[in-house]
Amino acid sequence: LRYGPYDFKPYSRDGLGFDWPITYEDVAPWYDKVERLIGVAGANEGLENTPISPPGVLLPPFPLRASEYFVKRGFESLGMSVAAARLAILTQPHQGRPACLYATPCLRGCAIAANFQSPTVLIPPARATGNLEIRTHALVYEVESNNRGLAQGVNFVDRRSGRHHSVRAKAVVLAASTCESARILLNSKSTLFPQGLANDSGLVGRYLTDTVSMYTLAQFPALEKLAPRNDDGASIFHMYVPWWGYKQQARNELDFPRGYHIQPYGNVTMPDMETLGLRVNDATAAYGSGLREELRRKYGSYFALHGIGEMIPNANTFVDLDPIVKDKWGIPVIRFHWQWGEYELRQAAHQRRTFQAVIERLGGKVVWEASETPPAGYLHETGTTRMGASAKDSVVNEFGQSWSVKNLFVVDGGIFASHPRSPTLTILALSWRNSAYLADEARKGNL
C-alpha cells in the first residue's frame, strides 16, 4: 500500500509524532517505478488519503470471492467503503514473469515467480549487471569508520566457520531491517563515535513502532448456504477496507487520532492443523458423527477481521544494547522496551468494537478475539533510525544518508518517521530513491 499525503505530515495534522522531511509528491514517482517493476494488482477507487496509481501501472484486481462479496455488503451497510486489495501478485504476465496459477500458498514462496519476492524479482536483474556479489552466512555486526569520520567498510562473522572478516567499501548501505540496523550502528563504537556510529543525535534505536493489530474470528450461518468452491485465489484477501474515519477524526468524534485499515480473511483455505483443530472447539457436539457433520457444514462459513493500525512513536518504546547479553558470536544483542500509548489502546478498542459490529450486522458469532491489549510483535517494525529535516532531531536525512557520516546510508524501515500502514512498498520506493541519490552523489564525487 502507498502511504497517502496525510501520512507524511502527521505532526502538522494533529501535533503528535513526527513529520517526514518529504511529501507524498516526492515519493509518488518512486511508488510508480516500484509498482511497475514488481507488478501490483489493484484498482484506483480514489478514497481519501488512499493514493491512486497512474494509468497503466496497476494490473487488474483479483475478483471478489463469494464470502468477500457477502462481507463487503456488510461493511457498506455500515458506511465503510471496500477497495480491491493491492497485491504484488500477477493477474497478467508481467515483465517475463507468468500470471498467478491460483494454487499453492503464496506465503511459502511462488515456484513460478508470480508473486513479488526479492530472490525472484530483485536479485536476478541485479546479478545480470555483473556487479553483484552475494555473501551468504555473513553476519555483519559493525561498520568500521576511519579517523576522518567516514565509513570504510564492515566487519562480519561467517556463520559457518565462526571466523571474522572485513570488507572495505567507498560507501556502506544498511538494509539489515529496522532493529538489526540500529544494533549494528550502536555496536559501531569508536573514539570519534563513542555513542555508536551516526548517533550524534542519540536517536538510534529510539521511537520504535509496530502495527496496532487486533484480530477477531467469526462464524456466519449465512455462508453455510454456499456449496464447496475453489476459494484459493491469491491465497490472501482480495479486498480491504481503507481507513474510513478521517472525517470523523476531523470533527473530533473519535478518541484516537490515527486510523487503521481492515484486512478480511475469509477464503476457504486448505486446512492446516489450526483450521479445523481450533474450529472444532466451536462445535456443539464434542465428538462423533454429530461433530463430523458440524465441521463439514461450517467449514466454509468463517471469516477473520484483522486491523492494521498506526502507532504513534513514543519515548518509552525503543531498543538499546544489552549491557550483559551477547549472541553466540559475542556481539551485544538489543533489548526491547515496549509501551503502547493511550491512543493505540483506544484505537485497538475501536477495532474490536468495529469488528463486533460488522459481525453482528451479518448475523455472525464471534468465535475468538484478541484481548483488550493489541498483541506486540506484528513484525512491521520501523523508526529506529528516523529521517528528519535536521541533524538534531533525526538520524538520517530524506535520502537515508547519515547526517554525520556522509557515505553511510540506511534504506530499511528504520528510516520511517511515521508508520501508518503496511510498510513494504514504501521501503522499496525509498530504497530506490535513496540509491539513486547515492549513485548521483558518488558520480559527483561528493562521498
Partner: protein, 242 residues
Amino acid sequence: VITPQYLSKISRRTTLQWFAAAVAASSAHRYASAMQKSASPPPVKGYGTDPDLNHPTIPWARTMTSHQLQVAAVIADIILPASGSAPAPSAIGVPDFVDEWISAPYPEQQADRTIFLAGFEWLESEAGRRWSRGFMEVEISLQEQLLQVLIPKDKITATPAWAILDQQHNSQDLSDRDPATRVRERFFSRFRYVVVGAYYTTSEGFKDIGYVGNVPLQSYPPVTEKERAILDEELSKLGIHS
C-alpha cells in the same frame, strides 16, 4: 470383545511430511521463535530454522508403544467415526501422526506429550479400577464412557495454538500440578485438536470437508450468479437489501 488391531498405515517419511505440511502454513515461524524461548531444552533438537533439505534426516525417535497406538486408534475413531465414504482416522494413519506429533521436540508438542502419555495411563488405570480389565479389553461403549469423563465441563475456547503457547510460557510450568487434574483438564481438548487437525490435512479429509482448491487455473472465477443469489437472499433476511 476384541477391538481390531491397529496397524501402521504409512511410512514415517510420509507421516513427517504430513506433520510438516500441517503446521507449516500458519505457525511454523511461531514454533521456531517459541523454541528459542523454551525454558527447558527438549531432549533432541528439531529441524531448526534452516534444515538441509538435500539430506533429510529424522531427528527424533517415536514415543508410543504398540499398545498406546491401539488406544489412540480407538479414541480417534470415537471422535471422528467413519461416515459414508469418509474413512475413520485409524484407516488413514492418524495414530501414527499422533505419535510423531508428541515425539517432536517443540514446546507445543512436548506439552502434548506429557498430557497424552498421562491420559493413556489414566484410561488404562481407570478401566482397571472400574472393570478390572485393560482399556483395550473392554467394550467400545465402556471405552466411550471413559472418554466422556474427560470432556471438560466448560466450553473449550478456540484459542489459536500460538496463544496457547504464550499462555504456557506465561503460566510457567504445567507439570507442578497433579497429573490427574492435568489430564482431566487437557487431554480431551488437546487430543481432539491433534486428531481433527491431522485428519483434515489429508486428501481424504479435504474430500470430506469440501476443500476443492489447490488446482492450477488459467484465470480466477468471480463469485457466480448462483452464489450471489443465495447470498443476496441471506443478506435480505438480515435487512441488507441491494
